[in-house]
């Protein structure tokens, strides 16, 4: 397998609603920052890949507008996934594994603020026969999963509040966070339910942001990372697995997809999730954290979401990409030798991707 690593990462601030910029203008400064840190030209980038979703942006082929932020003239080699840009990283990583080039730029943009009522969007992402016609409350399937976890004794409401409190306290150190603060668990537990047992703070806050990650292969990665004054974060493994969509067809308390993806990633990387120092988890809800910790087999002592994680900012289709970028940055800044990044898609953690990253020896 070819050595492919993250050599640059940049992100915009997560805003509850950006009413000043179009997609290209949110992205442009973030891309400029990432590219400038490497001292390269646009023509040095062999492949561009992005992730966004028309139902959030409210237009068909919305991603075409964001292409203006990378400049598609002269023509570029480009691809797009209609989902979280973490999957665009997977495509770019595979593309580099094929030896098609040495440098790839991946960007994700999420606009969670454009839909007036998020419930109008959330049901469009569901099964069109048995779920979408019911227009479920956007937190309904997550609420079911959380309640099932409590009933199964996997976690408690107090433990979920602790996840939120720890995440928002960690986010005090993250200048891009949308939400942060010091909260006492008993204050959080005094808040009303939005979809019991979930409270408003248990759900990641939708918003707008962009993120950019540059991948490079082999010695080119070492050269570029050195120019940026950082260490390459080698992506030693990526694997993603999907479960069935309908929430009544699977055991909502168990993430077999994560277990399988983690096993395969472990074989590919030569080390396991249990061996990482830091894990960035795509927790769209607080209850996802204990589930993921269990499915990944993360021991006590693994640092979880030191950025604050999605509970501190959830720019829809950029959220999973930011997990990869934050994990890479922990390796780049030397605070972790090995890191895990998780991304999810679909209702109740239907589709999961596990990436294992490692710094240079």
């Amino acid at each position: 397998m070819r050595e492919v690593g993250v050599v640059a990462f940049a992100q915009s601030d997560c805003l509850a609603a950006n009413r000043g910029d179009d997609m290209a203008d949110i992205l442009a400064p973030v891309i400029a920052e990432a590219v400038a840190s490497l001292g390269i030209e646009r023509s040095d980038i062999d492949f561009f890949c992005s992730g966004s979703h028309d139902f959030h942006e409210g237009r068909t082929f919305a991603y075409i507008e964001s292409l203006d932020s990378v400049g598609a003239w002269p023509p570029i080699s480009e691809s797009h996934v209609e989902m979280d840009a973490a999957w665009a990283v997977n495509e770019a990583w595979s593309w580099l594994q094929l030896g098609e080039g040495d440098v790839a730029l991946v960007y994700g943009i999420g606009r969670g603020s454009l839909a007036t009522d998020p419930d109008q969007v959330s049901h469009t992402l569901l099964d069109p026969y048995y779920l979408a016609p019911l227009h479920p409350h956007r937190h309904a399937i997550a609420g079911l999963q959380a309640q099932a976890l409590l009933a199964a004794g996997v976690t408690t409401e107090a433990a979920l509040a602790q996840v939120v409190a720890r995440s928002l306290a960690a986010a005090l150190g993250n200048p891009h966070a949308q939400r942060s603060g010091s909260h006492a668990v008993h204050d959080l537990l005094a808040q009303p339910y939005v979809a019991s047992p979930l409270r408003a703070h248990d759900a990641a806050p939708l918003g707008d942001a962009a993120a950019v990650l540059v991948l490079a292969a082999g010695d080119r990665a070492r050269e570029l990372a050195a120019r940026a004054g950082r260490r390459p974060a080698w992506i030693r493994a990526m694997d993603h697995r999907m479960a069935t969509h309908y929430p009544g067809s699977r055991d909502l308390t168990r993430l077999e997809t994560v277990e399988v993806a983690a096993q395969r990633a472990t074989r590919m990387a030569g080390f396991a999730p249990a061996d990482v120092d830091v894990a960035e988890l795509h927790t769209e809800y607080s209850h996802a954290e204990p589930m993921l910790v269990q499915a990944l087999g993360l021991p006590v002592g693994t640092t979880l979401n030191p950025s604050g994680g999605p509970l501190a900012g959830n720019p829809t289709t950029a959220t999973g990409l930011i997990r990869l970028g934050e994990a890479a940055d922990r390796i780049a800044d030397g605070s972790a030798r090995r890191a895990l990044a998780h991304a999810t898609s679909g209702p109740a953690l239907q589709h999961n991707m596990v990436s294992l990253l490692e710094g240079e020896e």
């Binding site: 442009a28 891309i31 454009l114 007036t116």
Partner: protein
Amino acid sequence: MSSVRPSTATDLPAPVRTISAPFHVDYTYVAGVGRSVYLRGMAERRFLARRCPGCGQVYFPAPQHCARCLQVLDPPFEIPGTGAVSTFCIVNLPFPGQLVEPPYVVAYINLDGTGNKLQHRVLEVAPGDVAVGMQVEPVWTDDDRLEPSLASVRYFRPADPALRDGGHDA
């Protein structure tokens, strides 16, 4: 106790073929700082273009950044709004929400002083008389209907009055 009873083919209902599956989402459109310049101009009967300091490309409508050089475009300046037909088609099909009764011409117009094309209707001319290279000028809507939208330009028409048929002005 079991409540599961086999169902035979004869007692099954004829299948439903389709369901109504409407989709409705209310959004906020954010034009962006760049496109807002041209939109505000439209409400004042002005065509406001912007030039790239890197490659000299002039855009109308202009985004904030040059899509080739990625540089922020220079401040806006006014162009006349006249231009030449670059290519066109004759619309013969009716469709819901159509503003003009077919047949009529939709053209790409090279606006004078810019380097990109603008799509708009070309009316006041028989479709068969439209040609590539034809000089055209904008026809604005009435003052009380001006808005920050390209809809403030009702259509384009031949710049030469002799080429207008006068009959089809939407």
